[in-house]
Amino acid sequence: MESAPHQTVLEIFEGPLDLLLYLIRKNEVDIYDIPIQRITRQYLDYLNLMQLLDLDVAGEFISMAATLMYIKSRLLLPEDEREELEEEEDPRWELVKQLLEYRQFKSLSNELHRMEVRQENYFTRSQREPPPPPPAEEAVEEISIFILLDAFSRVLSEASARQPAEMAPDPFTQEDGRRRVLERVGSGGKVSFLTLFDRGEARTRMVVVFLALLHMIQQKILRVVQEGHFGEILIERLSTDDPEDPTPEET
């Protein structure tokens, strides 16, 4: 089912609106009065990071970036030209409406989730066939991918402050990254996200380790949790079977 895990490009299953809501919350700004320049800058930072990691950034992210730049340009018009602008709608309003509606459905989906869990307490005589496990592409993190990206970018920027450049190609493979993550996470308990990386190691190596982590989250081998909002990010082992290491019986 999973073809060539080493080349699989990870897809991001959260969209541009999720990222914007995340930034609004993280910056503790008013959704009705979004500081568009700051949010745009941070949005583009995330976009760059996702592209650096070679994550499959959906076209929607790019088109939202364009929308943000457009709004920013409207707001940057000189005072006298803005006079007429203020007669019309605030250029941010379309986006704000979209964010509010989306946020509402996010919280409704949260409510649905609670109902779903509650319903698991009731059994009928003829249980339906268990539904097929969700396809791998559908796997979703326990916490937002943006929180992880955020944490990783901090690790990266700290690293880049200390080391100028990497010259020699690093023999550290994706498989090495995978092994390291599994080793450090161990079988029980939770470990801090930061323990996955070594101080002063090459940035390329950090990227490999981080990608290995993302893969295993998508495969539901690992789970990422956070202690409270913006608390420490913890990794834990979810299942012991590793679908990527099947020792092929035949041939």
């Binding site: 919350r25 568009i36 959906a58 940057l76 996010k106 989906s109 559908e138």
Partner: protein, 233 residues
């Protein structure tokens, strides 16, 4: 005990027992009208009203409760369903592989919430709200019989219109769509006025790399505390 030796067995069994038998054997919730039609077959010509069905169900459920039985009749998905009581869940759960509970993912739940409140709705309309493609998610929801095609919209391309299926109500324990949490109106009708965009003056151009907050920006956040992000547990 066989039917021959059952002392309670009568020529025409009482409605409560018929309803019990039907609920027991049904693979899915049965509506009161269907119960009435099915139960009416054995009766000598007499019509059975939905009221009589409701009474029979209530009595049956009352019996279970009084006798301390493990069952209850729940009102779900526009019908009745025989199910085990909540307190027995831990025992039953142990019997099954925990993997059977494949809960829906955030992406799936979000899409489902949009379909539930906005049905009938096309894929493009869902995507306009979520801001991402929903191809894979729609397929998952169709496969799991949580949504169904209601028809086609009479616009260019005649896209499918989706709505929730009966299984949706069952999955979330809803009696009907009217049981869904109320959808609140979204916000006031316009955003705050554009201030002299102090935001735009202060800021340096964005720099690629670390999306870290600059300390001097921290004071800018205006009072309102944003709602907790629903998908962060």
């Amino acid at each position: 005990m066989t039917e021959d030796t059952n002392p309670n067995f009568q020529e025409s069994p009482d409605l409560k027992s018929v309803v019990e038998a039907l609920l027991f054997a049904s693979p899915e919730p049965i509506s009161p009208s269907r119960l009435a039609a099915l139960a009416g077959m054995g009766q000598d010509g007499g019509e059975i009203t939905p009221t009589a069905i409701r009474q029979a169900v209530e009595e049956l459920d009352g019996d279970y409760r009084l006798q301390g039985r493990a069952f209850e009749v729940s009102r779900i998905a526009n019908g009745y369903r025989l199910q085990t009581r909540r307190e027995y869940a831990p025992f039953i759960r142990k019997m099954f592989n925990p993997r059977r509970y494949s809960r829906l993912t955030h992406a799936t739940l979000e899409t489902l919430a949009i379909v539930a409140y906005k049905q009938p709705i096309t894929k493009a309309e869902i995507e306009a709200i979520r801001g991402v493609s929903v191809d894979g998610v729609i397929k998952t929801l169709l496969d799991r019989e949580l949504i169904k095609v209601l028809g086609q919209k009479e616009v260019l391309g005649r896209p499918y219109l989706y709505g929730t299926a009966q299984r949706f109500l069952e999955h979330f324990g809803l009696r009907s769509l009217g049981d869904l949490p109320i959808l609140e109106e979204v916000g006031p009708s316009s955003p705050k006025r554009i201030e002299t965009s102090s935001d735009l003056r202060k800021e340096p151009e964005f720099s690629a790399g670390a999306p870290e907050d600059q300390p001097e920006e921290a004071a800018e956040g205006k009072g309102e505390t944003p709602e907790p992000r629903p998908d962060v547990e």
